[in-house]
């Protein structure tokens, strides 16, 4: 690999790296928040609302992210939604992730033992407090592996943003490849980068999981 390449393209790649991380983090944050809200709304016993949310989840999960992103970015202006590329990319990632996160949260909510909620109800605790102090911690324990998995998947989905000209890593790499014809190095470098990113997310997830489930440990494996 030509070291001049790195000197010349290094800053752009670094910027791309930053944009990738930013899009991923912001997309995850939106996806998690929206997914949680969708899960809660879905629990309200109003049929039309349930249908709408269900349709939303089915459509998002049933269509490729690339197409959703095109619709948002290129189709958006048709309904007066004119978004800058990076904004559209982040929003797209968030919307895409939200459908999956909503399903994960739904399973997590159902996994919280009913008796724990009944105990809180019988003490006269308000729903908001029960949700925050009883259900949410219980949910997180059972959903962290699935949430982390989805977040790892989203790191890889960020490459799609290059297609709508978000200047993230893939975009910068493609620019470099097009200008230098060094496509093998480019692709290898990219693969390595995304693998490292996924690995970092997974490790963080495992640490979080250990932390969150500490209270479940028995004396025999307390120091694990």
């Amino acid at each position: 690999m030509d070291s001049n390449l790195l000197v010349h393209y290094g800053p752009a790649l670094l910027r791309g790296f930053g944009v990738t991380i930013l899009c991923w983090a912001a997309g995850c944050a939106i996806g998690l928040a929206l997914g949680f809200a969708l899960m809660l709304l879905r629990r309200i016993d109003v049929k039309p609302l349930r249908w709408i949310i269900r349709a939303y989840i089915e459509v998002i999960r049933g269509t490729p992210f690339l197409i959703q992103l095109f619709l948002l970015y290129s189709g958006g202006p048709a309904i007066g939604l004119r978004l800058e590329a990076t904004t559209a990319g982040i929003l797209g990632l968030g919307v895409y992730g939200s459908a999956y996160f909503a399903e994960i949260f739904r399973a997590g909510y159902q996994a919280v033992p009913k008796g724990q909620v009944e105990a809180a109800l019988s003490l006269g605790m308000p729903y908001g407090g029960i949700l925050r102090r009883v259900i949410l911690p219980g949910m997180l324990v059972s959903t962290i592996p699935a949430l982390v998995n989805m977040m790892a998947i989203l790191t890889k989905e960020t490459v799609v943003l290059s297609i709508i000209t978000v200047p993230e890593l893939m975009y910068e790499m493609q620019t470099m490849a097009a200008e230098t014809f060094a496509s093998f190095e480019t692709i290898l470098g990219m693969a390595l980068f995304y693998w490292l990113l996924v690995e970092a997310v997974s490790r963080l997830g495992r640490r979080l999981e250990t932390r969150m489930t500490r209270f479940l440990s028995h004396p025999s494996n307390a120091r694990a």
Binding site: Q116, L121, L123, G124, P126, Y127, L216
Partner: protein
């Protein structure tokens, strides 16, 4: 707010407030799942400071009846009143079911102890007891922790305050669950088979705490298979069979003088089990 009183004193004060009005009145309560009638026309009155045990074979409706009293379970017909207040339905709009939010005022005065303890596993014993004190009684964190410590001491678990439920035995978990309830100074306590999930050698410690509560004048409705407890601690015993109260009265009368053949048959299984 009387939270700094010793719990014993406050229980006695509540009991002395108005001894004549009943704590719980159940009138003509029925409940069905489809065509399966689990409760049929139940009448039952529980007076203040009284301990009433509900006994009967599994599926007889005793747990369902207990859970109707704080409306964790919905009843279809009849009415239940706690200290005169209608449980679960609007007083003004007939049969309008109250939401969980509307039931909070009633439930904060009615404690419930569950068969499976239902402690929150991510909180320590102390946090389990303190949580509702903060959220429902509005105590600040320090005052709540202080009071929670007092309650844990009362059930003999002062040294387990910082343990998570997974580190406690079943008997200890159930005592934490009882501490969580008495910290709220309930007027009435409901026990849903509180010792059924325990190893036999741990049953005694939980029953002892319940005996102490009864001695201090707590009003208690107890679903139980512990016939010894029912015989010695209950003021009155109700035998449920297929959704009806088939026998009711002081324990001596129910256990020894009832002509009800289903009851004789039910008690026979206990005699057989204990004669080895």
């Amino acid at each position: 707010m009387a939270v700094t009183d010793t719990p014993t004193a406050s229980v006695q004060r509540v009991a002395a407030a108005d001894d004549t009005a009943p704590m719980v009145t159940i009138r003509g309560v029925s409940k069905a799942y489809g065509s399966n009638e689990v409760l049929r026309d139940i009448d039952l009155t529980v007076n203040k400071s009284e301990v009433v045990c509900l006994i009967g074979p599994s599926g007889s409706g005793k747990s369902t009846l207990l859970r109707c009293i704080n409306f964790l379970e919905v009843y279809d017909r009849g009415e239940i009143r706690i200290e005169g207040q209608l449980v679960g339905y609007s007083e003004t709009t007939p049969r309008r079911r109250l939401s969980n939010a509307e039931l909070r005022g009633l439930r904060r005065n009615v404690g419930m102890v569950f068969q499976q303890f239902n402690l929150w596993p991510h909180m320590t014993a102390l946090e389990n007891v303190a949580e509702a004190l903060v959220q429902v009684r509005g105590l600040d964190k320090i005052a709540a922790a202080e009071r929670a410590r007092l309650m844990l001491a009362r059930v003999g678990l002062a040294d387990k305050a910082d343990s998570y439920p997974s580190r406690l035995s079943g008997g200890q978990q159930q005592r934490v669950a009882i501490a969580r309830v008495i910290a709220m100074e309930p007027h009435l306590m409901l026990f849903d088979e509180p010792t059924s999930a325990l190893d036999p050698e741990l049953v005694g410690e939980v029953l002892q705490v319940m005996r102490d509560l009864a001695a201090e004048g707590m009003t208690m409705v107890v679903v139980t298979h512990e016939m010894g407890f029912a015989a010695n601690v209950a003021d009155r015993v109700a035998f449920l069979d297929r959704g009806r109260i088939a026998a009711f009265g002081p324990p001596r009368q129910v256990f020894h003088e009832s002509p009800e053949p289903r009851l004789t048959q039910f008690l026979q299984t206990y005699h057989e089990r204990n004669s080895f």
